[in-house]
């Protein structure tokens, strides 16, 4: 077994891990990135479409270009990068056990750890899809990888369940490469993806999108030959009397993403039942001292630009923790989501001075509403929104000196 020692160990080399590592290095910490793939970049490498970097770099680029920009910055710095290295376990003493084909089993002693493992897709099993298990059923991200990295189109006649961004992007991608995308079905009465993706991925190509519809069962073996779908009632249960058949050889699932927090099992770290990521403070530190979390392993983002910014907060704080032994000011108050707000993050903040940006997501589509952030008698934010939708993360800046007890984030009609 090989033993190593770093101030900061970053687990995951996607956009979150790279930005966190750079920020930690900037504070003077020694840093290692553990990445299970054979190169840095994570899921960005397979997102060959445009739409990245407008906020962070001030220019629009594709996913691989955004990843490449960060990869080059990492290479310029004195940051250790372990590729094809799988983090197997995180110990209570913040020792990371990792496996690499070139180095074998490694024990990495770290003074702080940044979790940047991203998320994974919900599968056919996760949504209890009825019917047999023929070939031709893929999660949208898996189809994207097979298409954009390996160069194979996974099918010719396609139905997509779920209107998450990856599903919408794949509808366009498969259409332009010659497949016939027949239909997109969405269980909710609204899309969980960005509005612009409905326009440029579906409307541009005349692909129909049916809200409040779901797949009731799939047919065919060994390859999918078709599926049944039906509208759903308010209880989200399919109305089987209105079930219809559509032939297809491929079903893509874009039905949600789950932070990949398996490494935290058994450590007693507080996990939010809403985000399924860790509960964090303003430094993105979890309930385990010296363990930080950022990017899609913390909560699922719509924009990589936000991931990079969040990871810089976590990386810089992880370095300060490793070098000075503490970043938390203590005297915490909770941030509570209420009245239409599904969650707000960070979930706890310490009293003090300065500004802080809160991120939030709503649970339904709300029109002409007002976001209120309140603490004790003080109203910290009262901001009008024309539309708030579950698919689009919102933010609001608060003045920390006005915090007087728990911070409540809520919507008002």
């Amino acid at each position: 077994m090989r033993n190593m020692d770093f101030d900061v160990a970053v687990i995951g080399g996607g956009p979150a891990g790279m930005a966190a590592a750079l920020a930690a290095r900037k504070q003077g910490a020694t840093v290692v990135i553990l990445e299970r793939d054979s190169r840095l970049g994570g899921i960005l490498n397979q997102c060959i479409h445009q739409g990245f970097g407008l906020h962070y770099f001030g220019e629009e680029m594709t996913g691989p270009e955004y990843a490449d920009r960060f990869r080059k910055m990492v290479e310029k710095e004195d940051i250790a990068v372990m590729l094809e290295s799988m983090a197997l376990a995180l110990g209570e003493d913040k020792t990371v056990t990792a496996l690499s084909p070139s180095l074998g089993l490694c024990k990495i002693k770290a003074r702080s750890v940044v979790l940047a493992m991203g998320c994974r897709e919900r599968t056919a099993g996760a949504i209890a899809l009825a019917g047999s298990r023929p070939a031709g059923i893929y999660t949208a991200g898996m189809a994207q990888k097979i298409c954009n990295i390996d160069g194979y189109l996974v099918g010719k006649d396609v139905v997509i369940l779920g209107s998450g961004d990856i599903g919408l992007i794949m509808a366009r991608r498969m259409t332009t490469e010659g497949a016939n995308v027949k239909l997109v079905l969405e269980l909710a009465p609204y899309s969980s993806g960005l509005k612009r993706n409905i326009v440029q991925c579906l409307d541009d190509y005349g692909i129909p999108l049916k809200y409040s519809h779901t797949v009731t069962r799939v047919e065919g073996y060994p390859r999918l030959t078709g599926l049944y779908y039906a509208p759903v009632g308010e209880d989200k249960k399919p109305i089987l009397s209105e079930e219809r058949f559509i032939s297809c050889d491929t079903l893509l699932l874009s039905v949600g993403l789950i932070p990949e927090n398996d490494l935290l099992n058994g450590l007693g770290v507080n996990i939010s039942p809403v985000t399924q990521g860790a509960v964090v403070d303003e430094n993105r530190m979890t309930s385990m001292e010296g363990v930080f979390s950022c990017g899609n392993v913390l909560h699922v983002h719509d924009l990589v630009d936000n991931v990079s910014q969040e990871a810089e907060i976590a990386g810089a704080a992880a370095a300060r923790y490793a070098l000075d032994g503490g970043v938390c000011k203590g005297d915490f108050v909770n941030v509570v989501a209420r009245d239409g707000v599904r969650y707000a993050l960070p979930q706890r903040i310490s009293r003090g001075e300065g500004k802080l940006r809160l991120f939030f997501r709503v649970g339904d589509v709300y029109k002409n509403c007002r976001l209120i952030v309140q603490s004790g008698e003080n109203t910290l934010v009262s901001k009008k929104f024309m539309v708030l939708a579950p698919g689009e993360m919102g933010s609001a800046d608060i003045d920390i000196s006005l915090v007087d007890g728990d911070v409540v984030v809520r919507l008002e009609k």
């Binding site: 680029m61 691989p64 490449d68 612009r196 924009l303």
Partner: protein
């Protein structure tokens, strides 16, 4: 006409009208949105991304240097499909210039 701006993730709702020969865009919150609205009314354009084959059998991802007329998207994708790039291409390399006379180049954005 009414549409949603696709220039950034905000997705502003645009209303585009013609009055006295001028195209007037409302609902946008930035200049990029105004330019998009005008294009969308007179001649919609889209950036195209796809893959090229490489001589070693792998693929590299590519983009058009600028947006192309919407009705030419499939022509551009077909053209990109007919190109075989050198196995040594790198991100940023131009592998075809002035494609189909549209005045746009094909640029490598990523590879394994």
């Amino acid at each position: 006409m009414n549409t949603i701006c696709i220039m950034c993730p905000m997705g502003c709702p645009l209303t585009i009208e013609e009055s006295d020969g001028n195209i007037v865009v409302t609902g946008n919150t930035c200049k990029r949105g105004e330019a998009y609205g005008k294009d969308e009314y007179s001649h919609p354009k889209r950036a195209v991304t796809s893959l090229v084959k490489m001589k070693d059998g792998g693929v590299a991802s590519v983009k058009t240097s600028q947006s192309v007329p919407k009705e030419r998207i499939f022509d551009v994708v077909r053209f990109i499909g007919s190109v075989t790039a050198d196995s040594g291409v790198r991100i940023g390399d131009v592998i075809a210039r002035d494609v189909l006379g549209l005045g746009v180049d094909i640029i490598v954005t990523g590879r394994k």
